[in-house]
Amino acid sequence: MKRLVQQLPLSAIFFIVLFGQSCHKKDKPTPAQGPTAYSLDIPGNWQKPNILADNPLTVEGVQLGRKLFYDENLSLNRTQACADCHQQAYGFTDAGNAVSKGSEGILGTRNAMTLANLNWNSGYFWNGRQPTLESLVQEPMGAPHEMNLAIDVAVERLKDDPDYPALFNKAFPNQGITTVTLRYAIAQFLRTIISGGNTKYDEYFNKNPRAPETYMTPQEKRGYEAFIDEKRGDCFHCHSPINPLFSNQNEREFVNNALDVQPDSGRFLVTGISNDFGKFKTPSLRNLAFTAPYMHDGRFQTLDEVLEHYNSGIKYSETVDPVLIKHMDADNNFAPVPRLTQQDKDDIIAFLMLLTDSNLVTNPKWSKPN
């Protein structure tokens, strides 16, 4: 579940399918009634995503989810849709806002995360509190500082709608509109938002996974080298190049990245482990060109500010990541030890821009339906 990289096991699955079928006699299965299966477009070297067994993607379910995602009737005062804080033009983030304003004008405390590639997350929201896409959907819908509509009230609204009952019946035969199918439909749509495989970085990586830098411009190459240099960028411990998303699904999935002397509670609220204080999700580095501002509270407007934080702004606390404390001077009250030149920062940003996929912000299949 935690691994994105997978090659051989897929062939084993084909194996099973082939041989498994060869065992059967040629009696054909009864054609399945109901919705049409939807097949995800997954980049070649990415792991097959974990889809909930009882919520397989269907064309009808995805279409319904898309309509719901853009529907303002899912907020109490009918003014805000999911899409308002997750705008496609901004890589499904909130149009440059540090934190989002709810349907009734209340400001939240978190930066709206991108919705790209959620299939490969194992914990949702900045502190990973929700285990599945299917479970997360009702939280922003019901939160007073977001859409403020309890999900069972939403269900009643949809039942009274002229179009939705038929659409739900198509997508979820014999189930109709329930709190479950409402969540499942939106989750199905979210699962289709996949971005990767056709960026410049992917093109280079596919040519030579061992040395994608061979194909980069001199500046991009310098940036990549600084990115993986422990004495300069030192970015790779958390944003692992082994991970196709340049995030982390292992020991650095949630990290205290030294933002504050008194860190926000972060993942501690989920685990109750005091060592998780101040830890937040290591985000993907794909599509940063669209998703400013950065950090869980959107405090940095630009990537230059982000890099300057890691260069000269890191702050000690008891749960700060050891990879970052390495860049502090313990004999000088943990003052940061700057190590990046402006050239390094510019180079790293040039490298990060290789991970930009314009398809994410333009593909009409994720835009507002007619």
């Binding site: 096991p9 041989f19 065992c23 792991q47 008891e318 050891p322």
Partner: protein, 249 residues
């Protein structure tokens, strides 16, 4: 779910097997017995507990453990009658996940076994071929970059310094030069006499050995992360200290 890629080939075999007609004359050929390895970790002689400042280094630094994962591989078992028998097995032990600490080596030839050899780490050929699956899947994060080879030993924790400050530390050891090899006599020899036999070997890693001998490590004076590429001198000390970290039963 993490081990789905190791499971799948087994499933494939099961399906393949299901296709074959049953041949009543064939009986399964017993090729050997099984050795189960049980891995555990101790600190200061007590079972490892995470996230708790209850341990002390030999130099007197109070510390806790926040993360421990490592590779064991290249197991060989010695029989006085037939010599060393090497088996191919790569075990990624993640100390916070009990299921990774017990595994079985199957089809060891029948006989008596009186010694064990193994690596902590990955042999150099495999270390430079990262197109692997199962426990060697790079997705487990035991690799720094696509060119670095595996991290053999990943140990992280926190210590309390002389000013009473809590300081996180991380020791990541990897690279061909830091492969750790062990050879130990079993206190009582294990006999595999039938395919039904399951002999047990208990291996215990004493974590605090990393701070002890031959080089006493004072965390107070380290206050840094150790990485193979960053601080080869320290990494060498840590590696040498770990060479007497195992006991066997």
């Amino acid at each position: 779910m993490k081990r789905i890629s190791t499971l799948v080939p087994f499933l494939a075999l099961i399906f393949l097997g299901a296709c074959k007609e049953k041949d009543p004359t064939s009986t399964p050929q017993a090729r050997g017995g099984s050795m189960q390895l049980n891995i555990s970790e101790t600190v200061n002689g007590k079972s490892l507990v995470f996230n708790d400042f209850q341990y002390m280094t030999e130099a007197g630094d109070t510390f806790q453990v926040t993360l421990l994962q490592y590779y064991l591989s290249n197991f060989s078992f010695h029989s006085p009658e037939t010599g060393w028998k090497q088996v191919s097995h790569y075990q990624l032990v993640r100390a916070d996940e009990a299921s990774t600490s017990t595994f079985t080596i199957k089809d060891l030839p029948f006989g008596n076994y009186d010694s064990i050899r193994f690596y902590m780490g990955i042999d150099s050929v495999t270390n430079h071929d990262i197109s692997k699956e199962g426990n060697l899947d790079p997705g487990y994060g035991m690799i720094w970059t696509w060119n670095s080879g595996y991290i053999f030993y990943m140990f992280e924790g926190k210590f309390v310094d002389s000013l009473n400050r809590v300081i996180p530390f991380a020791y990541h050891i990897g690279g061909d030069d830091y492969l750790m090899t062990y050879e130990m006599a079993l206190p009582t020899s294990k006999t595999l006499s039938s395919s039904q036999t399951l002999a047990n070997i208990d291996l215990t890693l004493e974590l605090d050995e990393i701070f002890k001998t031959p080089t006493r490590i004072e965390l107070n004076h380290v206050a840094k992360v150790s990485h193979t590429f960053d601080e080869p001198a320290l990494t060498t000390q840590l590696k040498d200290n770990l060479l007497d970290a195992y006991t066997v039963k």
